[in-house]
């Protein structure tokens, strides 16, 4: 009964979304406020409808309804309930439903905002979001139906939504196949929702951009409305990427967090354009420049979001992530192309109206640096896009499969990332409109000198690797320049307001949260760069087979193999093989680690869980590769020392803090009482520098 109900509401929500789009269009063309309002309500209705559909699916998942093929594929009796719930996005059909549900949530939320001043945007925002939603709900309802059930037709089992013939009876398998064990990790439980949230929330700024193009209200109102949406979208996308990295580091067992896998890149590409967009909208807000470019960026971001979903969901790439294969590729491709063509057509139509209000004055101005930043982000995007596309092109045109792996990406993006670091150091200290070498030099020489001294220190004590030194110099430059900026601001306030340093710093940051949040994010990027440089350049590894009591040496560490035990957990369907090793640093005992291998009987899959010893200096990362099952006398370990890698994760936490600091909603100026209006003006004045 429930599958029919779930599918029923799915169909209804499809119809409602289609209606909402058409009603909005007719509402505008016939100037009928009633129709637009009806469209808005229809849009609002999609959320409870899709919630009901999703709720049905979750109920089926949790209660072992294995006659539903999706439930059969992603859950099994041995799985704990929370994993059964999260299996919702553990497979193709469910994750597309999840995508749709999130999109409905966001579009409903946006239709609930106060529209008084922006009423002309409303119908078009509804149109764009309902077109997107129609596509995804349609995909779920007609191509990737999570409510399909197994039917037994005279001994033959076939999947179908309704009974395929009169004599067919429902077939319920005893147990499900269970979620891919690789996905049963806390990181993987949260990673897809975060990524999807990021993807979905970028639809909102895009919808407003399109509304601005269609209505011809091409001032920066659309940017001001969507500023926070964009920040939150960026936050979720970034979190998704980071959690994915952490998951890979903890679960995939190759000593790294990022493998330049096409699916990682699929999520990284919208992040790149999104980041460029976040920066370049500031130029439009402050200087009225780059209106065309911002449109291009948001269109690209939206297209890459859909393209990314297509890459991960269509199985067009077979990669470590390709858990899903289905024939929905062409549909996705058509949708991406169609939206791109329409968006570009609109952009061209409005091109003359988007002319800049002022002029670029100097190559050393803040806006010029923002442009360089955009060039670099686009450069990285080109490298990534091409790296993902060319194996497909090669297979298509020459019939040969090729791999475009880490060496290509590292070589090509390395200098671009270095350029970004350099800009991160100098751009915040340049002025809008105009800077000269002298003013920039005055603001920066101390930081540059400090960074040079630090680099010199590193040459003497740590490394002479030119790439590492360049990287560390740039990182130090960013850190010093940014911290100096905090110090300078706080100091100025201290003198003028007689506040103590911390009060001054606190007020300064609170005054312009977006700017100082941005600086905190810059600091976090520098911290992450420390970790990335550390693991990329200084990672060492060794592998060897040792008997109990014997040791492997790597760097300052000695790893002594003590014992190994193997046991079955029949309830969970897992065999655990857990080793015990003692670790010594420079001869001093520092603790025990338990690298292990979990073998999942259902899926016949191994999961290698490393033993990790994390410090600020480095990560000792031990994998159990193999063991002798009979005598238990020898075991093979692979050991990595990943220097500085934990700064990557520390950077992520700082990043999170900075972003929330910048994006935390404050009251819409329009909602605040008149008494507070002055404060708002002050905020806007401070936002303008």
């Amino acid at each position: 009964m429930l599958p029919e109900f779930g599918y029923g509401v799915l169909l209804v929500s499809f119809i409602v979304t289609v209606y909402s789009g058409f009603a909005a269009v007719f509402g505008v063309t016939r100037k009928s406020a009633t129709l637009v309002e009806s469209a808005r309500r229809a849009q609002l209705l999609t959320f409870p409808l899709l919630t009901a559909a999703s709720g049905s699916l979750i109920y089926l998942l949790v209660n072992n309804h294995y006659e539903v093929s999706f439930v059969y594929e992603v859950t099994s009796r041995s799985m704990p309930t929370y994993l059964k719930v999260t299996a919702w996005w553990g497979g193709q059909a469910g994750s597309l439903l999840f995508w749709s549900w999130l999109l409905a949530l966001f579009t409903s939320a946006v239709t609930l905002r106060k529209w008084d001043r922006d009423l002309e945007f409303l119908p078009w925002v509804i149109v764009v979001s309902s077109v997107t939603l129609t596509f995804f709900v349609g995909m779920v309802a007609f191509y990737e139906n999570p409510f399909t059930r197994f039917w037994d037709i005279g001994g033959q089992v076939a999947p179908s939504l309704f009974a395929p013939s009169a004599n067919a009876v429902l077939f319920t398998p005893e147990d499900g196949r269970g979620l891919n064990p690789l996905l049963r990790h806390p990181g993987m439980v949260i990673h897809p929702p975060m990524l999807y949230l990021g993807f979905v929330s970028f639809v909102i700024p895009y919808a407003f951009a399109m509304a601005a193009l269609i209505t011809g209200r091409t001032d920066d109102r659309w940017i001001r409305i969507t500023r926070r949406w964009t920040l939150w979208a960026w936050l979720f996308l970034s979190l998704g990427l980071v959690l994915g990295g952490r998951w890979a580091y903890d679960v995939l067992g190759w000593g790294g967090y990022w493998g330049w896998d096409p699916v990682e890149i699929a999520a990284f590409m919208p992040w790149l354009t999104g980041t460029a967009f976040l920066h370049s909208v500031m130029i439009q807000e402050k200087r009225g420049l780059l209106k065309h470019w911002n449109m291009v960026l948001i269109i690209l971001t939206y297209a890459l979001v859909i393209f990314g979903t297509f890459l991960t969901r269509s199985g067009v790439l077979s990669s470590v992530h390709a858990f899903a294969n289905s024939p929905i590729g062409p549909l996705f491709m058509s949708f991406v192309s169609l939206t791109l063509i329409v968006s570009v057509r609109l952009l061209i139509q409005r091109w003359p109206e988007l002319r800049s209000e002022t002029e670029m004055k100097s190559m050393l101005s803040r806006e010029a640096f923002f442009l360089f930043n955009n060039l670099l982000f686009m450069g990285i995007l080109i490298v990534c896009f091409w790296g993902v596309i060319s194996p497909l092109a090669s297979e298509l045109f020459t019939g040969t499969k090729i791999t475009v792996g880490p060496p290509y990406y590292e070589r090509a993006t390395g200098p671009l990332f270095a350029g970004l670091l350099f800009l991160m150091a100098i751009a915040p200290l340049s002025a809008w409109g105009h800077s000269t070498i002298q003013t920039l030099g005055r603001a920066l020489w101390k930081s540059a000198l400090a960074a040079s001294l630090l680099t010199l220190g590193l040459v003497i004590t740590y490394t002479t690797n030119p790439y590492a030194l360049t990287g560390f110099f740039l990182i130090a430059f960013v850190l010093f320049a940014t911290l100096h900026e905090f110090w300078r601001g706080a100091n100025a306030r201290m003198r003028s307001q007689n506040e103590n340093f911390f009060a001054a710093l606190g007020r300064l940051m609170g005054r312009n949260r977006r700017r100082y949040g941005g600086y905190i994010i810059h600091i976090s990027m520098a911290l992450m760069a420390i970790g990335i440089l550390g693991i990329e350049i200084f990672q060492i590894e060794t592998q060897g087979t040792v008997a109990a009591g014997e040791s492997l040496n790597l760097g300052d560490y000695r790893v002594e193999y003590r014992e190994l035990a193997s046991w079955d957990d029949f309830g969970a369907g897992v065999n655990y093989t857990r080793s015990v090793v003692d670790i010594y640093e420079n001869g001093v005992y520092i603790g025990k680690l338990h690298p292990r291998i979990d073998y999942y009987y259902e899926s016949q899959q191994n999961m290698t869980i490393p033993g990790q010893h994390a410090t600020f200096k480095d990560d000792l990362y031990i994998l159990l590769v193999d063991w002798q099952p009979v005598s238990h006398e020898g075991a093979t370990f692979k050991i990595f020392v990943n220097p500085l890698v934990n700064w990557l994760w520390i950077g992520c936490l700082v990043f999170l803090f900075g972003l929330i600091f910048a994006a935390w909603p404050d009251k819409d100026p329009a909602d605040e009482p008149v008494r507070r209006k002055v404060g708002v003006a002050g905020r806007q004045a401070s936002a303008a520098d």
Binding site: G253, W254, G255, G259, K286, R287, S318, S319, V320, E357, T358, E359, M360, K361, M363, A368, L371, F372, L375, M378, G379, I382, W386, G387, S390, A393, S394, F397, T398, T400, K401, I402, T403, V404, G405, P407, Y408, A412, S430, A431, W432, G433, S435, A443, R488, G489, R493, R495, S496, Q497, E541, T542, Q543, G544, V678, G679, A681, A685, S686, D689
Partner: protein, 163 residues
């Protein structure tokens, strides 16, 4: 005396030769030596997984194959060539620089260069003196220099506005 020396050196040479042989037979290449090469190769069955970390049985056998080839005295290049000959260019982390594959390497730098040229030209177009749009409020905000005095002034203005 001379004779003894010659005999001795011959014996030593033989000895060295034989111990050399014995040594080569004894030492199987270490895991690290195998991984150093496997790292540069991609698993021919599970796409996008480097061979040194791939946990499948097939890949284990391929690693053993590398070990055997190393023991036979094959060079790194010979081993890579063997894998390419048997499983195609996709086992390499990067496509070989020939034929169609040149596109992989040439397109990104060319596009980035074009982007840089466009950017540079736009700069020249923008910075060419033109009459500025009169009454544009943004112009006022623009001319701020970052000297300390003005910085403080600005902060104070912000403060005043806040009260």
């Amino acid at each position: 005396m001379k004779k003894t020396l010659i005999i001795l050196s011959i014996v030593l040479a033989f000895g060295a030769f034989f111990t050399g042989v014995a040594f080569a037979q004894d030492s199987t290449p270490s895991d690290d030596e195998v991984n150093a090469i496997a790292k540069q190769l991609y698993c021919p069955v599970c796409e996008n997984t480097p061979l040194d970390v791939c946990p499948t049985e097939a890949c284990r056998q391929w690693r053993e194959l590398i070990r055997d080839m190393l023991a036979e005295g094959k060079s790194e290049q010979e081993i890579k060539d063997y894998f390419v000959a048997n499983y195609g260019a996709r086992v390499l982390a990067e496509p070989p620089r020939k034929g169609f594959n040149w596109f992989v390497y040439i397109v990104p730098p060319v596009l980035i260069l074009i982007g840089a040229v466009i950017l540079f030209n736009s700069f020249r177009a923008w910075t060419r003196p033109k009459s500025a749009a009169p009454g544009s409020g943004r112009e006022k905000e623009a001319g701020v220099s970052s000297s300390d005095d003005e910085y403080i002034k600005r902060l104070e203005e912000e403060l005043k506005n806040r009260k």
